[in-house]
Symmetry: C2
Subunit: 433 residues, 2 copies
């Protein structure tokens, strides 16, 4: 986006050029693209290329222990999220950017922070052991959850920072294509095996594989820390996910390939250092992956910054306003993502929860201008996350008040309850404003 505006941009990247390495590198929870991400890709002019490698996911496919399966669509017909491979997306972004005459990349550059000078920023880099300093006019720290740019900011007076690990971890195992070379399960869904305190999840990849991820607590009677032997892993999957065992013939081998990965969340404030440095993406707001919004929220940072560049001339205003607009959004999506973990691993197996989702879907279809389910606000709209969170809480209360008395409403035969839900929501909204 900065390149499109005519700025001279240099991207310093710690990793090697993604075009020179293997397409699939290392562990990674799959990337899910939704409205907020697409909007940024549209602005950057790369949405069409990305669409070629994106696999549509229509909803959640839940697997109960007894084999019962339930489908819950994410939104209205035609609304879906997209699974994309990290490597493929990175290649497209790098190639498109590098094709611009005013954008260049330097790979294998480790960043060691920066120094704010009167008229520029000095960026401290290291390549294969040799250090160099680079003077730049402005610096956007997009160096991830363990950002060195943010590490430098932490020494600023009154810079708030928090890194907190979830007491849960995860392990990924791949599900290969079947004997016919095709997907082994429906490729249009995010598969979930909700089991209360833990869950198995599977997201399809364009190469006909699924990435299966077990999320669960490290400690406790069903803790991941107990799964240290072939027998324990086999017994655990057999007991909790019997329908998937035959689809994962290499489970025990794959299980041993990687340690359990941790899940970190970070929050900080402010996101800018004066008018010269700003944090974007995970460096400003690393979240847990359960809402599929990690990448989307980072891309929305870009959209918002781009909008500020349209509206303001002063970089001091742009940077200050950027923090003001995005800090509440970052806090809100972190909270939403934490909530969604509980929803996915526990509530998606709950009958009442699924009923509520269905009712909300009907309400949305009947009154699209008055009711947008929380998931849709987050995934299929550009409503600021903090507003979605607040509105979602009110909608939840409204639905609870309607569902509290099942005798009073025959939800599935008539629609009288809808007015009650909408008027409860209006009352809550009025009380708030």
């Amino acid at each position: 986006m900065l390149g499109n505006r005519g700025y001279e941009v240099v991207v310093y990247e710690r990793r090697p050029d993604p075009r020179k390495g293997p397409l699939h590198g290392g562990r990674s929870i799959n990337l899910a693209l939704s409205h907020r991400g697409w909007k940024a890709l549209e602005i950057a002019g790369v949405a069409d290329e990305v669409r070629n490698i994106a696999l549509p996911i229509q909803g959640r496919r839940m697997h109960a222990v007894d084999g019962t399966r339930t489908f819950q669509p994410y939104g209205l017909e035609g609304q879906c999220i997209y699974s994309v491979a990290r490597g493929g997306l990175n290649r497209i972004l790098v190639e498109k950017a590098e094709a611009m005459p005013n954008v260049s990349f330097e790979f294998n550059q480790r960043c060691h922070g920066y120094t704010l000078e009167e008229n520029h920023v000095t960026l401290h880099l290291e390549q294969e052991g040799s250090k160099k300093d680079v003077n730049v006019e402005r610096l956007f720290g997009t160096d991830g959850a363990f950002s060195a740019i943010r590490g430098r900011m932490m020494r600023n007076d009154r810079f708030d920072f928090e890194q907190r690990y979830l007491p849960h971890g995860y392990k990924e195992v791949p599900m290969m294509p079947g004997p016919n070379g095709d997907f082994q399960m429906e490729p249009d869904g995010l598969h979930i095996w909700p089991r209360g305190t833990f869950m198995l999840m599977a997201l399809p990849n364009p190469d006909k594989t699924f990435t299966c991820t077990l999320f669960g607590p490290y400690e406790g009677p069903e803790g991941l820390n107990l799964l240290t032997t072939d027998e324990a892993v086999h017994a655990f999957f057999e007991k909790h996910f019997p329908d998937v065992m035959s689809l994962l013939p290499n489970l025990l081998e794959d299980w041993k390939k990687h340690p359990i990965s941790s899940l970190v969340m970070t929050r900080c404030f402010p996101w800018n250092d004066g008018d010269r440095v700003a944090l974007m993406g995970d460096s400003a707001h690393a979240i847990v992956p359960f809402y599929g919004q990690g990448m989307n929220s980072g891309m929305e940072d870009c959209t918002v910054l781009n909008g500020l560049l349209d509206d303001h001339d002063s970089w001091s205003d742009i940077m200050t306003r950027y923090t003001e607009l995005r800090k509440p959004a970052g806090d809100a999506i972190l909270e939403l993502a934490l909530q969604n973990y509980i929803e996915m691993r526990d509530l998606t197996g709950d009958k009442r929860f699924l009923q509520q989702k269905e009712l909300e879907g009907r309400l949305q279809r009947a009154h699209p201008e008055r009711w947008l389910p929380l998931y849709s606000q987050v995934t299929f709209s550009h409503t600021p996350y903090q507003d979605a969170l607040a509105r979602g809480r009110m909608q939840q209360k409204a639905m609870e008040s309607v569902m509290a008395n099942p005798a009073k409403w025959n939800h599935f035969t008539d629609d009288k309850w809808m007015e009650a839900a909408l008027s409860a929501l209006d009352t809550l909204q009025a009380a708030r404003t």
Copy 2:
């Protein structure tokens, strides 16, 4: 304490030898010693020396805008806290420790973290630009709120950390001795000018001066950020602290000497890195200064570690147990200190609050085995902070239930309310356990 147990101890200190510099160095909120600190000094065998430089403070002396003054004792007769000068205390501690043949000091050593090796810890130091590594068996990081040891631990997987700044700051100005060379106000009290969102505080020093500290919000209609001109500072003090103006003839000059200082709080987990490294004091739990427990809580870390050395042989057990015991205490004293800021700046000017304090004092004297006010539990006992916090909350509820109906109890003529308070407390306690 480690020296007393026969360990070979080297203290690497970033600052110069305190015996070679000026006695009063830099800004510092005065140190307040109470029971927990004294206990550690007793164990270390330095309490008598420290007592010589400690000034007893019997209670709070509140100054209302209209000049009304109120005294509120901290505890029972004979119970007090002690003001000590940081420089004097440091000298005593260094001299006493260095007199031991197995303890030595290395000053002017900047620490850059450590590396955990199989059989030792490598400590990375820098003295006047030249770096050196030192191998030690075990490392205790007592390097303060911005600890480099903790900075290294932050890169450990699943290490939680938070640094958060209070939206309030402070500025210190000295109050010199009067024309007769003596204190200008009663030296037996911590003087407070409670003004709601901000306060002035004055703590006596052994050299007949007071350190006056203005605490207040950076921003807002009465924000410290507005006090940028002589006129603004003069008008602010004249309006809010008229009785202190004549005692601070150099106020305007002193005000300009230092910027506003910020107040940082840190929390982290765990406090140990395996069986070789532990954080103690501010590096593990930097708190705000409003309970006078910053130093005391750090010294209690030492007392607890010393107790663990008595009870355990395995360093792995000692370090794990140290985190288990002290992390809840650190979280609790941070919360208590934040509460006490509100109490000091707001409630100490509140009639009902002072009445409750008086009633609690009477309750304590009548039933010392059943009622210990929260302040006394924190300051004059060795009850773990987290237990004091929990018990204090219950006592607060019990007092509220009794004071809610002033018509029912004639608190100041008979003692019938006492049984009601005690039985309310018993009920709460029973419900908890």
